[in-house]
Amino acid sequence: MIATVIPIALTLFTLGALLNLYRLVIGPDIVDRILALDTLMINSIALIVLADIRMGLGVLFELALLIALMGFVSTVAMTKYLLRGDVIE
Amino acid sequence: MTHLMILPILIPLLTGASLLLLYPTPVGVQRLVSIASTVMLTLLGLWAVSTAGSGELTLYHLGDWQAPFGIVLVLDRLSAIMLLLTAGLSLFCVLYASRGIDRQGAHFHALFQFQLAGINGAFLTGDLFNLFVFFEILLIASYALLLHGGGRARSRAGLHYVIINLVSSALFLLALGTLYGLTGTLNMADLALAVAATPAAGQPLLTAASMLLLVVFGIKAAVLPLLFWLPRAYSASSAPVAALFAIMTKVGVYAILRVFLLVFGLGESPANQVAWGWLWPLALLTLGLGGIGALGSASLRTMTAYLVILSVGTLLATISFVTATTLGAALFYLIHSTCMTAVFFLLADLLGQQREQGYDRFSDIAPMGHRWLLGGIFFIAAISMAGLPPFSGFISKLWILQATSGEPQGFWLWGVLLAAALLILVAVSRAGSGWFWRPGKMTAPRPLDRVCVWLVCLMIGVSAGLSALGEPVINYLELTAEQLLVPQAYIDTVLPESARLAREVAP
């Protein structure tokens, strides 16, 4: 059952990722793009977890964790930059 | 196994790291530590030369892993010479810098030591990827040293230097990927066997990888279409740094020698033929450009930078004949030109400080302090640089001429080499007569750092010594060249028999 569900879930997440990319490309504002990238990061966490289940190895968990951490930090950095014109002050 | 072998890398590495760890250290202590480290390197260089002199290779298996699997350091005559040359040169540079230039920016000594670790590592390693890593160490340190002291010219030249070298590193990785993808190994000796064992259908890919390496090393060595980063970078950097950089192009030359003679040098029709074919005309053009550039430059440092280019052209043109005598002659020239370009960079600083205005520019007519003393030093340095007797320049030129006289293409080299020598003569005589013979007194006399003067004189003395003790040096270099031309001996020493047999069995 899981074996059939996973490809479906993967496809759905991929579709989601493509929608994110669509927003990332058309914008119109930079904040939209940041939002799109942030969402893309989150969706890719799911993609990775699903791939991990499909391979049945469980070696990609750290990657998921790291994407969560790093996605957050980069979103913060970019919005901070937009807000203040700098990132660290 | 002797641990002395890895010390040329570890000593500067530890020194640099300690200087960072123990910061803030008084500058006096920094100098002391840095000089002590460099002295030790010089002693190690002497040890290396005498050890390698026996003709036996000395190996060091890092992590105690056998050759094609772990990284192995290999000390042969060529490495030993390069180690000693680097150490000697850097000793002068660090002493000169310790007279005040090291205060112009932060962490000069730590960066200097890291630079030495990188250079020495590149000379010792027997592993191609490890060579890449050491290239990166020496490059990043050189970027930092180039910027030492600040200023707009350095920023601008530094940016070009860095970007070009980043592209070069990318090409290096591409070459490594190709070689590993085809042979499955990284050890240079093992690679040599694998390359030789590759059937003809696969050869173009390997040669393509070798061409990538040629471009990479060509950028480092400054061969013609790849050298334009050099003049500004070298002329912008501070004197001791530029003097140390005299060895940097030689690292490229070393890499060409090592990789193309070893990795691609095995078999009936070695894969390096293509490389020599390209190198010969390019090097000749480089030589010519160096001469023209030296004549057309506007300052002593730029001129010296072009002399560096000229020396690379001479070296590679001579090397591309690939005979024992030409290689030996090229190595002698390598030592000579490294010393002399370093002398000129230091001299430019010494002179520039004594000039009322214009620093080392030729166009400015300005009074100069201590002009007879400095003029005398310049005159002698110029003699050696121009290849006039009795200094090492003459000996090296003589040897190159003799070594190439029997070669069918030798006369091309003769022509360009001698024409370039004439151009240097014109350039230095113009510079010297314009600076030291013009009248005029300094409005305010400036102190002349006697230590710096002595350092420069000593370096010129090295050139003279090289000439006086030419015979033993030449004998050593001839043996070095012969060792380089027999890669099989290198391979037999580095690889255990099982690894060699495996290659022979493989299709």
Binding site: L69, M78 | L20, G63, V133, A298, G406, L422, V426, S433
Partner: protein, 930 residues
């Protein structure tokens, strides 16, 4: 090495005078004379051997591998030249003592003079050709300094440079020629070379060798058209001119031709080259000399002419031409030196050298007039004088020729004409100076005759000219004959001076004398005629050529090295494309034997996204922030690619590095313009697209070719030995910390250096205004939103825990010190971002450089630890321990190594970020960062 002493003594003398350079000219002259006289005595002591025809050779090894030896040779030829060099040198020292009285620079002069003497002696006394070349170049260098002696004078500087370039260039030719010669003979020893004449003349390279050697000799001996440097060397002080032009510098070339005569001469090529050059030089020199108004200029061109004459004789090849050449060489040295000295005295006494002003000096300097009458007569070749005989020897030899036809016809007439000119200019310099009416506008008045002691050298030389004129046969036997024998290396009879009485030489001599007188008589209209000829100043031409060459080089170099990075990169890439492309084309089949694996749709989509995002970066690079975001997407998908193809460690590293890089770029972007101007032309755009496309195609081809080919890898060893040998199941990590730990040590060193470098070069950087203008004070733009601060603080301990987790796991599962370090660094960076630099600095360690140094040291020290066990650097050790209660656990040195990695990464990353952040802080408190 007694022969070497002859050279060494003047060298030591040079050191002595250099040491005592502040002394008076008298003391200095004594100091200089002493070594010269000593050498002379040494030389005279060898006279018996020389007369006996013994050739002494003394050898000392220097660089035998290159055929370079410190070997000396004394035979008749070298003895004769050495005598001239030292003898005339002594007199010049004497002369200079008065010339430099009361003038500055005496010390420098005597030093250079002795150096020069030593160098000249070296040339003539060398047995080894390369050793000779050493001295040859030394004479060029010292003469450069001597000619430029009056450094204030532009003429002197230019003259010096010109002589250096011409003689130096000649020296290079000579070097080439001698190397070829030596290679052909197999030895550079003169003994061998001279014996190898027949072989050499038949050698393939004979023409080349001869040409190169002669070019060296001609430039040195001021042969046409290389004579240009000689007259301009007249800016030198008169003692220099007298020495260089009479006995030394210019004679070096003649010496070489005489020396190598047995090896290279007696061929048609030799005859044509040497004779014709000599003829041209003879005539050009004589002709120009007649019209010179400058005393020294006239003498200089007369020197040129006489050098041509000797060259002509050396070229003729008749049995006794060598005798005539060497005889004339001696005569010329003896009369030219006093004439120069005379010109110097007149110059000193009157303040000018212009013969149009200097007239009627007999009234003021009668003794000088009397003394200089003799050398002037000798130069003119009047009877009873040495020059008379040598000129008749020339005429006589010119008649001995049998072939070729043109020479038989032309040369006698030619030499007669030249003789005529020489009579004319000799009369001119004597008559014009001492008679010819009254002086005009002399700068010094009245002219005073020098002291008698000062005149002694002239008197001595004049007497010698007279003696030789009166007793030619004796002079020949004692001085010249041994030299002739040595030069020809064959037995020759004595020269028969009686034969000179023959009708034809006599007639030619008479014609020359009468013609010369006539010519001088009608000089006024001739001068006017000459004045109308366009004036050619060689110095100007030379300078113009030099300037042109230099400017041309500057322009050419600038065209290539114009400071444009884009262009350098273009060169680089095109080179790579050509070199690699030519090899790829030779590839028989791009696709290897391996079967292709199937494409799954998700991967295809990801690849498409990767491509599109990269293209997006290229398309939108003008809008920098969007481009940066797209770059982030690219990085993310590269990460996913690594994850997809079984490289979890790589994916982790790539991701964390990517995010840090984007943050750093973002930091930098706030100082840079937000958009790039569009500035590429269409052609440029197209060109770059082509280059980019070619490089991309090359990479794709290479990659495809590799991916479809099988290979044998050393990787199996790592997979097999990772657990038993390295103690870890994550093979990638074991490779990093164990098998190839040395690479990793290098890698963290690079990271550390980069950070320290950033610190070093941003330390003094002050950002005055921010490029990105921000309308500060917007109500939402508070510096530290509390939500962010709070969550950031919450994240920190969790992130540290995760760091620890990833660090410890790394040896067996994806992870490791590097990634752990980056996680820590990112969590701390978040504190910087959420609370500000100052806030964060107050709460944490701010000295990152010790962290970097410490990290590298930990890693290195771990490696060094293995020395204690007698193992090589970086040998790892690990063990499983089973403690009561605690259970079983593993400890590995690799972990300590990884700790070094971790520490360095944290330190380096934070150092870079903190320094960038510091740049943003316009002002304010805050601790020192770094």
């Amino acid at each position: 090495m007694s022969l070497g002493l002859v050279i060494l003594i003047p060298l030591l003398g040079a050191c002595l005078t250099a040491w005592q350079r502040e002394g008076t000219s008298r003391n200095l002259a004594l100091m200089a004379a002493l070594p010269a006289v000593l050498s002379l005595v040494l030389l005279l002591a060898w006279l018996p051997e020389v007369l006996a025809g013994v050739t002494q050779v003394q050898r000392l090894a220097w660089i035998p591998s290159l055929g370079l030896e410190l070997s000396f040779r004394l035979d008749g030829l070298s003895w004769l030249f050495a005598m001239l060099i030292i003898g005339i040198g002594c007199l010049i020292v004497w002369y200079a003592r008065y010339y430099f009285a009361g003038k500055p620079g005496a010390g420098r002069f005597f030093t250079l003079m002795l150096l020069f003497m030593a160098a000249m002696l070296g040339i003539v006394l060398s047995e080894n050709l390369l050793f000779m070349l050493v001295f040859w170049e030394l004479t060029s260098l010292v003469s450069f300094l001597l000619i430029g002696f009056n450094t204030d004078s532009q003429g002197a500087r230019r003259g010096a440079r010109m002589s250096l370039v011409i003689t130096g260039g000649g020296g290079l030719m000579l070097l080439a020629g001698l190397v070829l010669l030596g290679q052909a003979v197999g030895s550079y020893q003169l003994t061998d070379v001279l014996a190898a004449g027949p072989m050499l003349r038949a050698h393939d390279h004979y023409g080349l060798i001869l040409g190169l050697v002669l070019l060296g000799a001609f430039t040195k001996s001021a042969q046409f058209p290389f004579h240009l440097w000689l007259p301009h060397a007249m800016s030198a002080p008169t003692p220099v001119s007298a020495y260089l032009h009479s006995a030394t510098m210019v004679k070096a070339g003649l010496f070489l031709m005489a020396r190598l005569h047995p090896a290279l001469a007696d061929t048609e090529l030799w005859f044509s080259l040497v004779t014709v050059t000599g003829m041209l030089t003879l005539m050009v020199g004589a002709f120009v000399a007649m019209f010179m108004h400058d005393m020294k200029g006239l003498l200089a061109y007369s020197t040129v002419s006489h050098l041509g004459l000797i060259t002509l004789l050396l070229g003729l090849g008749t049995p006794m031409a060598m005798a005539a050449a060497l005889f004339h060489l001696v005569c010329h040295a003896l009369f030219k030196a006093p004439l120069f000295m005379m010109a110097g005295y007149v110059d000193q006494a009157t303040g000018t050298r212009d013969m149009r002003k200097i007239n009627g000096m007999w009234r003021f300097m009668p003794v000088l007039m009397g003394l200089s009458a003799i050398p002037a007569a000798a130069m003119a070749g009047l009877p009873l004088m040495s020059g008379y005989l040598s000129k008749k020897m020339l005429f006589s030899e010119s008649l001995q020729l049998a072939t070729p036809d043109w020479a038989v016809a032309v040369i006698p007439v030619w030499v007669t004409l030249a003789g005529l000119f020489s009579v004319a200019y000799s009369i001119r310099i004597f008559h014009n100076v001492y008679f010819n009416g009254k002086p005009i506008d002399l700068p010094i008045w009245p002219p005073r005759e020098p002291r008698y002691a000062a005149l002694a050298p002239i008197a001595l030389l004049a007497m010698l000219s007279l003696v030789i004129g009166l007793m030619p046969a004796e002079a020949y036997r004692w001085l010249v004959h041994p030299a002739v024998l040595a030069a020809r290396q064959t037995l020759l009879p004595q020269y028969e001076f009686d034969q000179l009485g023959a009708a034809l030489p006599m007639a030619m001599s008479l014609v020359a004398m009468a013609g010369g007188l006539l010519f001088y008589a009608i000089r006024k209209p001739l001068f006017r005629l000459h004045a109308r000829l366009p004036e050619v100043d060689a110095k100007e031409i030379f300078d113009w050529i030099m300037r042109w060459v230099i400017e041309l080089s500057q322009r050419r170099v600038y065209q290539l090295e114009n400071g444009s990075l884009q262009r350098y990169l273009m060169f680089l890439l095109v080179t790579a494309v050509i070199l690699v492309g030519l090899e790829l084309i030779r590839l028989p089949d791009w696709r290897g034997p391996l079967p292709l694996t199937a494409i799954d749709p998700l991967t295809a989509v990801a690849a498409a996204v990767l491509c599109l995002s990269a293209i997006g970066v290229a398309l939108f690079h003008h809008y920098r922030l969007p481009a940066l975001l797209l770059l982030g997407v690219t990085g993310l998908f590269v990460t996913l690619t690594f994850a997809r193809f079984s490289a979890p460690d790589l994916a982790l590293t790539q991701l964390s590095v990517e995010v840090m890089a984007v943050v750093i770029m973002m930091l930098a972007l706030s100082f840079l313009p937000q958009q790039s101007p569009k500035e590429s032309s269409g052609a440029r755009f197209g060109r770059d697209l082509v280059i980019a496309g070619l490089v991309g195609a090359g990479i794709a081809t290479l990659s495809f070719a590799i991916l479809t080919r099988p290979y044998e890898s050393i990787a199996t060893f790592f997979l097999a030995n990772s657990l038993p040998g390295g103690g870890g199941t994550n093979v990638v990590n074991v490779i990093l910390v164990d098998f190839r730990g040395f690479d990793t040590l290098g890698e963290i060193t690079v990271l550390g250096i980069a950070a320290v470098a950033v610190y070093a070069f941003t330390r003094d950087l002050h950002l005055k205004e921010r490029v990105a203008g921000s309308s500060a004070g917007h109500w939402v733009a508070e510096p530290h939103p509390i939500m962010l601060s709070m969550v950031a603080r919450l994240v920190l301990p969790i992130a540290l825990l995760v760091s620890a987790y990833i660090f410890l796991r790394g040896h067996n599962m994806p992870g490791g010190g590097f990634i752990a370090g980056l996680i820590t660094a990112v969590a701390l960076t978040l504190q910087y971002m959420s609370g500000g630099l100052v806030w964060a600095q107050e709460r944490m360690l701010t000295h990152f450089r010790p962290l970097i140094g410490g990290g590298v040291l930990i890693a290195t020290a771990t490696g060094l630890g293995s020395w204690l066990f007698g193992r090589p650097f970086l040998t790892s050790a690990f063990g499983h321990f089973d403690w009561p209660l605690v259970g079983e656990f593993e400890l590995a040195t690799a972990m300590l190594f990884d700790l070094g990695v971790y520490t360095t990464v944290v330190g380096a990353t934070l150092l870079i970020l903190a320094n960038l952040g510091k740049l943003m802080t316009v002002s304010g408190p805050g601790k020192e960062v770094g």
